[in-house]
């Protein structure tokens, strides 16, 4: 084994050609390809959001007319949902980390993995090209019949969503087969890292739910092209049927968004509390339960759409049920920290932010499941604030935390910890400042997707816009110091956080192209920090002081070489 980390071959330096990157089958490189493209999509979607907030600073026209505004929030939604949040954690961090966390050399189908990436890019480009064809407005939910009337651009958006959906399905298939068939010897389901469990549950939802949006957009495409009359009432169709079709995917889709985030939080809290995850089995199985229950509640988006009172009641009850496994997860994470050895490094700050922000988002979601409340709050800014708390406060915060956590493994560099903490604070303050006013305006009746609003809501909207600037500053700061670390960052050690999962067991910080020279044999759980003294050669771990490897224990509990 080579000792000099800088000269040994790793997955980044073994081939520098463009072809070796663009035609790579290495899951780690594919993860990086996704990281680059998805970051650009996030930048675009975020800039659109900033423009929305500038327009909403004051009532009346500020920087754009109503037509432009309607297209702006539509594109913001389409980009952020289909092209950013659904692929982000599975395709970036899942791709990079999953095979290593199970001791495999790659995913089950590396070529299909690469195909998934190109399908994603193609789909995103097709969807965006709709902007050149014509207008896309009416919101990312493109309800019929308006979406059928809006012009030819809908054909491109639907095609783009279809192609991106295919990418998501293939990633899901890949991950399920990988987790079933390629775990290292000794790695039983009960010893899997919780990030792997969460990716498994996510993949199940991706495989089962995404085809439904596929057929939905296909039928919408045919409705627009041929007038097949399924959704358009003028032709004998039913627009509420469109909503059922649409939400049957789009609700499970939010579990695709949040389940991988839950997985990341488990990793972060386990590592930075140096403590086993309390209730491991419950946390693992609750992901599956959430995936299952999530398929049963789509009607809670349709309480005022004209479905029957009985249907609404049933959907409402099922919506409450999902709160239970989710709530227990939050409690388990908090209990994990109790009597742990907590280190408030940057990734941990994001995990703590997640607990607070996602709890608000989840709790307001349960509130919205209450029928008499939703009647008033549907289509108001309360909804907008709710879903931004779960999507941004939940998914994006966890994703940023995960990116920081695995950054040394991906790049071999450490980022500036002080700047990391400053950015975290900026994001926390900025995010709350952006969206708490929206809970208030929404509960007072301010509608969403409206270009203008009554003057009485102005001061809160102004606050919200200022918040968006603070948050943007935090995000740009992150981009800045992460990019800087690529060139000038301190070289990372192999296991800077002192974590116990398999991806940290390389002797060199950057993994070999094939991940492991010898397939590891697993004899312990992923959060057995009570064994830390035996497993690590010294007791100074996780302070940026390095543990270079994590030896396994033999039958007598002695560390093996």
């Amino acid at each position: 084994m080579s000792v000099a980390a800088s000269t040994s071959m790793n997955y980044l330096n073994h081939d520098h050609s463009i072809k070796s990157w663009l035609l790579t089958k290495d899951h780690k490189r594919i993860g990086i390809l996704y990281l680059v493209v998805i970051s650009l999509v996030f930048l675009a979607g975020g800039i659109l959001a900033l423009f929305i907030r500038v327009e909403q600073m004051a009532s009346g026209q500020d920087i754009m007319g109503p037509d432009a505004y309607n297209q702006l929030f539509t594109i913001h939604g389409v980009l952020m949902i289909f092209a950013f949040i659904i692929p982000a954690i599975p395709s970036i961090l899942g791709n990079f980390v999953l095979p290593m966390q199970i001791g495999a050399r790659d995913v089950a189908f590396p070529r299909i993995n690469l195909l998934s990436f190109y399908l994603y890019v193609a789909g995103a480009v097709i969807a965006l090209s709709a902007l050149l064809i014509g207008r896309i407005d009416g919101g990312w939910t493109f309800y019929a019949p308006y979406s059928i009337r809006v012009g030819d651009s809908i054909l491109f958006v639907t095609m783009g969503v279809f192609v991106m959906g295919f990418s998501s399905i293939l990633t899901g298939v890949n991950f399920i087969v990988t987790i079933h068939k390629m775990r290292a010897p000794g790695l039983t389901w009960n010893r899997l890292p919780l990030f792997v469990w969460s990716l498994y549950a996510t993949a199940i939802v991706q495989v089962l739910a995404t085809p439904v949006i596929g057929i939905t957009v296909l039928l919408l495409f045919l409705e627009r092209l041929l007038g097949i009359g399924i959704f358009d009432p003028a032709l004998g169709g039913d627009p509420v049927l469109f909503q059922h079709f649409f939400w049957f995917y789009s609700h499970p889709a939010v579990y695709v968004m949040i389940l991988p985030a839950f997985g990341i939080i488990s990793e972060l809290i386990g590592t930075f509390s140096r403590h086993r995850i309390f209730g491991y089995r419950f946390v693992a199985l609750s992901s599956i339960a959430i995936a299952f229950l999530g398929a049963l509640v789509w009607g809670h988006h349709m309480f005022v759409a004209g479905q029957s009172a009985l249907a609404s009641t049933v959907f409402s009850l099922l919506t409450f049920l999902i709160g239970i496994p989710t709530g227990v997860k939050i409690v388990n994470w908090v209990v994990t920290m109790y009597k742990g050895s907590i280190q408030l490094r940057t990734p941990m700050l994001y995990a703590l932010m997640f607990l607070f922000l996602f709890s608000i988002g989840g709790f307001t979601g349960i509130m919205l499941g209450v029928l008499p409340i939703d009647i008033h709050l549907h289509d108001t800014y309360f909804i907008v604030a709710h879903f931004h708390y779960v999507m941004v406060g939940g998914n994006v915060i966890a994703a940023i935390g995960g990116l920081h956590y695995w950054w040394p493994k991906i790049t071999g560099k450490m980022f500036n910890e002080t700047l990391g903490r400053i950015a975290a604070v900026l994001i926390f303050v900025g995010f709350n400042l952006t969206f708490i006013p929206q809970f208030i305006t929404g509960s007072r009746g301010m509608p969403r997707r409206y270009y203008d609003y009554p003057v009485e809501f102005e001061s809160l909207n102004l606050l919200s816009t200022y918040g968006s600037w603070v948050m943007a500053a935090g995000l740009f700061l992150i981009a800045g110091y992460l990019l800087h670390s690529l060139f000038k960052g301190k070289k990372a050690s192999a296991n800077p956080w002192g974590s116990l999962t398999l991806e940290w067991t390389h002797t060199n910080p950057l993994p070999d192209p094939h991940n492991f020279e010898q397939t590891p044999t697993v004899t312990r759980g992923p959060y057995d920090y009570h064994l830390a003294k035996e497993l690590f050669e010294n007791e100074s771990f996780g302070d940026g002081l390095e543990s270079d490897h994590v030896p396994e224990l033999d039958e007598k509990g002695q560390a093996k070489a």
Binding site: F109, N174, K181, V212, I215, L222, G227, I228, H514
Partner: protein
């Protein structure tokens, strides 16, 4: 220094570097194909739901409109697809017993039956178009054929029936075409001797795909043609 098995004779050519054994690779391929088939079922299920919903709302219109479909041709197509599933299963068997020539013949027969299916569908579709039975807003049945007065079927919501008919059989037909393409590729490879009892994974998983295409038709046929 860990010894990784790099001796070429020990690692068969078809075994990819990230798999430990041929069994693992074969199992993974089969599981992957089954999962993909589940997604296909869900894709079609959207159309089945649309069919069910409209049928519950307009039952008489749907059963009446089905009279314009030729159940004999549909029945012929059913038998043809079942035969093709049989030939593909025989193909897998011949691959497992290293009978290369019989494998090639079985695959060619499968393509032959699949092509008959497409030819029958071609005649069905063009027959409908000739009488103005189009999907969507161009639905305008007229003329007579086989004792049927097409214009009498120009009733509200009959257009929905035929839209669903064309969309469902159209997407199914697209999958048959894709299958023909896949089997053509398999015939070429089988002829070159790429498959043996050691490695016949592409035959196996394409066979699985084909069985799904067949079983979807088994559901389509009675729902659209018979009731």
């Amino acid at each position: 220094m860990a010894e990784v098995s790099t001796v070429k004779a020990e690692r068969p050519e078809h075994l990819h570097h990230h798999f430990v054994s041929s069994e693992q690779q074969f199992d993974a391929a089969k599981m992957g194909m089954w999962l993909f088939l589940v997604t296909e079922i869900l894709l079609f299920s959207g159309m089945f739901v649309a069919y069910t919903v409209f049928r519950i709302w307009y039952p008489e219109v749907f059963s009446h409109s089905a009279e314009l479909l030729n159940w004999r041709l549909g029945g012929l197509n059913t038998i043809v697809l079942l035969a093709s599933s049989f030939t593909v299963a025989m193909g897998v068997h011949y691959a497992q017993t290293n009978e290369r020539k019989k494998l090639v013949r079985a695959l060619i027969l499968t393509i032959f039956f699949a092509s008959i299916f497409m030819v029958v569908k071609y005649f069905e579709y063009t027959g409908k178009f000739a009488h103005g039975v189009f999907p969507g807003i161009n639905f305008n049945p007229h003329g007579t054929a086989g004792g049927l007065d097409y214009a009498a079927y120009n009733i509200p919501f009959a257009a929905q029936f035929f839209s669903i008919y064309f969309v469902m059989t159209g997407i199914h037909g697209l999958h048959v075409l894709i299958g023909i393409g896949l089997f053509t590729w398999l015939v070429i490879r089988a002829n070159k001797g790429h498959f043996s009892s050691e490695y016949y994974t592409p035959v196996e998983i394409t066979g699985l795909y084909w069985h799904l295409v067949d079983i979807i038709w088994i559901f389509l046929f009675p729902l659209l043609y018979l009731i």
